[in-house]
């Protein structure tokens, strides 16, 4: 039973706020990921939970125990928090063997030699390192070092496991297989996990819930499906997956859908969007359409919206097409292999549109380009 609760947590440095008013409860056995571009405050948050950084405001509870409280000036040192942690650089001690590395946390627990040995063996077999006990880190591959770090974090059977971009130093293939191994371990040990990454694919595939962060603020907390299907703002829509943003105006309301007029220069393209927030007729808004949710067909003259092909890129499993719809450009990903030509007229059908409130001019921009987000 381990529940991690952060209440109004903040970290202010001399000249900027690294984390602002952070509230999150990680339930027992839950896998929660902090996701965001570099500098968004996700690692700072993790380090406040671990005890390496002192929050300037707010409280952190582990179950009913206060482990950090700025107002009461309680900052339990890391060694007293009973958490396991895996670092981005693995931090496997080069002067110790695999067994010495993994067994190190047991030195500080009052447990007998036989039990220590059992726990070591168990931790090593969990991460499939049995038999490599006497190896030194420099005799191991990157993936094996990663497993040593994981075993070391698990050996003391911590209540909470913290992972700080643990897969970012591995090559792509290994990264993917380690993802499944970590999920598998978590299900098996029913451990509470707080995970930090900037890789949305990692976050989406592993987490029960994702906390999307930007510039020190939580943007949205939700299941991977929620943040993808119902992003609350432009940043989340842009950071999770790819998105086309089309300005529009609400023209009609009926129940939980609204009809909008696209602001694309034609003045006759309408779209029905499901909404949860309140929109007024005449209000300006933004429609988000995912490239994979645009149906594209050669121009037939009937239905849909017509546009002109600007560019097409063959990606193997799909085709990326850029079209011009009046005054806006729209990116489309389709599995059809129809060979579009530049300048050709096409029909578009927008599926699963998302309607967002208009944001102030200085709306936060995702610092990652779409290509990177995609990769």
């Amino acid at each position: 039973m381990a529940e991690l609760r952060l209440t109004n947590v903040e970290k202010a440095y001399d000249n900027f706020m690294a984390v602002r008013d952070f509230n999150l409860t990680v339930k027992d056995g839950e896998f929660v990921t902090l996701l965001g571009p570099s500098g968004c405050g996700k690692t700072t948050t993790l380090r406040m939970v671990a005890g390496f950084t002192h929050p300037t405001r707010g409280t952190i509870h582990l179950n009913d125990r206060v482990i950090s409280s700025a107002s009461q000036r309680i900052f339990l040192p890391p060694e007293q928090r009973d958490m396991g942690m895996v670092f981005q650089t693995y931090a496997v001690w080069p002067h110790m063997t695999v067994a010495q590395n993994v067994a190190y946390p047991l030195k500080f627990k009052r447990i007998g030699r036989t039990e220590a040995k059992e726990r070591l063996d168990k931790a090593l077999s969990l991460v499939k390192l049995s038999g490599l006990e006497e190896r030194y880190p420099h005799q191991l591959s990157g993936g094996q070092q990663q497993r040593v770090a994981l075993a070391r974090a698990l050996v003391m059977e911590p209540e909470v496991l913290l992972l700080d971009e643990p897969l970012s130093n591995l090559d792509a293939k290994l990264r993917e297989s380690m993802r499944f191994e970590i999920i598998e371990l978590q299900r098996r040990l029913n451990i509470t996990i707080l995970y930090v990454t900037h890789d949305q694919a990692e976050a989406m595939s592993m987490s029960d819930r994702v906390v999307v962060m930007n510039a020190g603020d939580i943007q949205q907390i939700g299941t991977p499906k929620e943040v993808y299907q119902h992003p609350v703002n432009r940043f989340v829509a842009d950071f999770i997956g790819m998105a086309n943003f089309i300005p529009c105006k609400v023209v009609e309301k009926s129940g939980d859908t609204v009809r909008v007029l696209l602001d694309d220069g034609y003045d006759n393209h309408y779209l029905i969007c499901p909404v949860s927030a309140d929109f007024a007729v005449g209000e300006r808004a933004t429609v988000v359409v995912r490239p994979e949710h645009v149906e594209i067909t050669p121009f037939q003259g009937q239905g849909g919206t017509s546009a002109t092909v600007l560019r097409q890129t063959y990606l193997g499993d799909r085709v990326d097409v850029l079209v011009k719809l009046g005054t806006v450009e729209i990116r489309i990903q389709t599995h059809s292999t129809y060979p579009y030509e530049i300048g050709q007229d096409v029909n578009l059908v927008f599926d699963q549109p998302i309607l967002l409130k208009m944001e102030p001019a200085a709306a936060p921009e995702a610092p990652l380009s779409k290509a990177e987000v995609n990769g």
Partner: protein
């Protein structure tokens, strides 16, 4: 590419000629190195094994039968052993405090703690005599305050030698370990913390074991530096009749009455040579074992250890070191230099600049020494840089087959104690050079030769680094842009290595300017150097003049260092 074809033949010819010239110059330089390094080394060994012109082990047998041989060897090992422990402990502690804790005034400590490395050790020793000699400031203050007729502590003897050795060698450990401590991946420590280790246990289980190669390396350097030191045991040890290997060799060389004295000194030197070579080998071996590949990812700012209530202890510790190694000694020298007569109370009426005026106008030896030292240091630095340019080109660019030998040869005169180098020079150049029949012994030229041999390694190391930084592709890019071999060298290589060439010159010039160990054995009347004159004045008991000159010399050294630092934009010097 077609356009380039007709030219390329000509270009290749220039390059070919240049390479041949370099190789030719290389051969000349190799011959010089043989003359000034190999030949003296062989002569030293041969002399130690010769009695009455025949091969004999008699010198060694005489030494072994002489109880004092073992006594001085034991003394040397003892002071170096305890000195190394002390200096390494202090140096590593300081490096840790400055790199990994929140101790205040870091900039100040960093600037101050480098100074003892720059002050010539024998001047530091003289300064400590002014503090803790029988009539030193500290002892006088003690007697005045307590009414005691006995001094608090007289520095002369082995404890004093160890103390001063520590104060002037700890910066080696500090400088060697500071970088690795700073660069150590902080996650390694954090991983220990989340595993349950507190700050002290993290230090014990993770930081110190990981630092062991650097700590061991610096300890070896310090140990050899202490074994080789001449100035400190000469200044502090002589009055207490406490002798170590270097001072014993010095006394044996100067003991003209003793038959066969040079051969005995040569035999005595062999102990130090063997030890120096062993230390060199150990160092190499240690470097090889340093295969901890620590992956460092994002450069997290290392988590600083919060000292809390220990902060005051740390500040007192650092303050004591700065006081003992920098402020105390410099103040003692300055106050002594400003006195009208020794022993007068320090009142404004007793303060004068007369000592400085007398020094520069009344003692011809001093003016001569200043000129000699500048000429010698400048001359040797210039020769070293020119020779190093060619050696480095051979080593780094052409990668000659005998590169390892060449590097070892250049390092040798610096790796073995200066006293031994001086003795080897005496033995090699005592008689006139063959063929040209000119003797450089008892002239300024033997000093020049000795300085060049001794400090060559600074030039080579500095310029090697430069050539290694300038990747060949930079030259090649100039070539494909149309520059010929010589133009590429002139336009690309020279501008890029300029700073290091300059630095190499200063790195040789500064220690040469205040050199004592070689000069004290190789100087002759009219050819004195600054180091020799300071040492001589001190031995003669001319306290005020010694202090005045020591002060000037120290200031020059600090100033030169500062200038070098500025001119190389902080790359070299402190």
């Amino acid at each position: 590419m077609k356009i380039a074809l007709p030219r390329s033949a000509a270009v290749n010819r220039t390059e070919d000629i240049f390479q041949r010239v370099t190789l030719g110059l290389g051969a000349v330089i190799f011959a010089i190195l043989v003359l000034i390094i190999v030949y003296p080394s062989i002569t030293l060994i041969r002399t130690s094994l010769t009695v009455d012109g025949r091969f004999s082990l008699q010198n060694f047998i005489d030494l072994i039968r002489d109880a004092s041989t073992f006594q001085v060897l034991y003394n040397s090992l003892k002071v170096s052993f305890f000195g190394t422990i002390g200096a390494t402990t202090i140096g590593v502690s300081i490096a840790w405090l400055l790199a990994r804790t929140d101790v205040p005034f870091k900039r100040f400590w960093q600037n101050m703690l480098i100074v003892p490395y720059l002050i010539p050790p024998f001047i530091g020793a003289i300064a400590w005599v002014y503090l803790l000699g029988p009539v030193g400031f500290v002892n006088k203050a003690w007697m005045a305050l307590t009414g005691s007729t006995q001094p608090l502590y007289v520095i002369y003897g082995q404890v004093g030698v160890i103390l001063v050795l520590i104060l002037y060698n700890f910066p080696i450990a500090y400088m060697v370990t500071l970088g690795p401590l700073r660069q150590m991946n902080p996650s390694l420590e954090e991983a220990a913390r989340v595993s349950g280790a507190n700050t002290l246990k993290t230090l014990r289980d993770i930081v110190i074991p990981l630092m062991l190669p650097s700590i061991g390396g610096s300890a070896l350097l310090i140990f050899m530096s202490m074994m080789a030191n001449f100035g400190i045991p000469a200044v502090i040890g002589f009055p207490g009749r406490f002798f170590v290997m270097t001072t014993q060799i010095y006394r044996t060389v100067l003991n003209y009455d003793r038959p066969n004295n040079l051969a005995l000194a040569a035999a005595l030197s062999m102990f130090l040579v063997i030890l120096a070579l062993a230390v060199m080998q150990a160092q190499r071996w240690l470097q090889k074992g340093k295969n901890y590949a620590i992956i460092s990812g994002k450069s997290n700012q290392p988590q600083l250890v919060m000292l809390g209530k220990w902060k005051i202890v740390a500040v007192i510790f650092l303050g004591a070191i700065v006081l003992g190694a920098v402020i105390g000694p410099l103040l003692a020298i300055l106050l002594t230099a400003l006195q009208k007569a020794i022993g007068l109370p320090l009142t404004p009426a007793n303060i004068t600049l007369d000592n400085f005026t007398l020094l520069l106008t009344g003692v011809p030896k001093v003016r001569r020494a200043i000129v000699n030292s500048i000429l010698l240091a400048g001359g040797s630095a210039t020769v070293i840089v020119l020779v190093s340019l060619i050696i480095s080109y051979l080593l780094v660019r052409i990668r000659v087959k005998f590169g390892q030998v060449l590097e070892g040869l250049v390092l040798l005169p610096y790796a073995i104690p200066g006293t031994v180098v001086a003795l080897a020079m005496i033995l090699a150049f005592l008689r006139p050079l063959p063929i040209i029949n000119v003797s450089i012994y008892n002239t300024i030229w033997i000093l020049l030769v000795a300085y060049i041999a001794r400090f060559m390694t600074f030039g080579v190391r500095s310029i090697n680094a430069a050539f290694e930084q300038v990747h060949v592709s930079l030259e090649e890019a100039a070539r494909v842009s149309g520059a010929g071999f010589l133009s590429a060298f002139k336009d690309i290589v020279i501008p890029l290595i300029k700073t290091n060439v300059f630095a190499g010159w200063f790195l040789a010039f500064i220690p040469a300017l205040t050199e004592l160990t070689l000069s004290v054995l190789l100087n002759s009347v009219g050819n004195e150097t600054l180091g020799v004159v300071v040492f001589g004045l001190h031995q003669e008991g001319k306290v005020l003049l010694t202090a005045a000159l020591a002060f000037i010399v120290t200031m020059i050294v600090l100033l030169m260092n500062f200038l070098t630092n500025r001119l190389t934009r902080g790359q070299i010097g402190f």
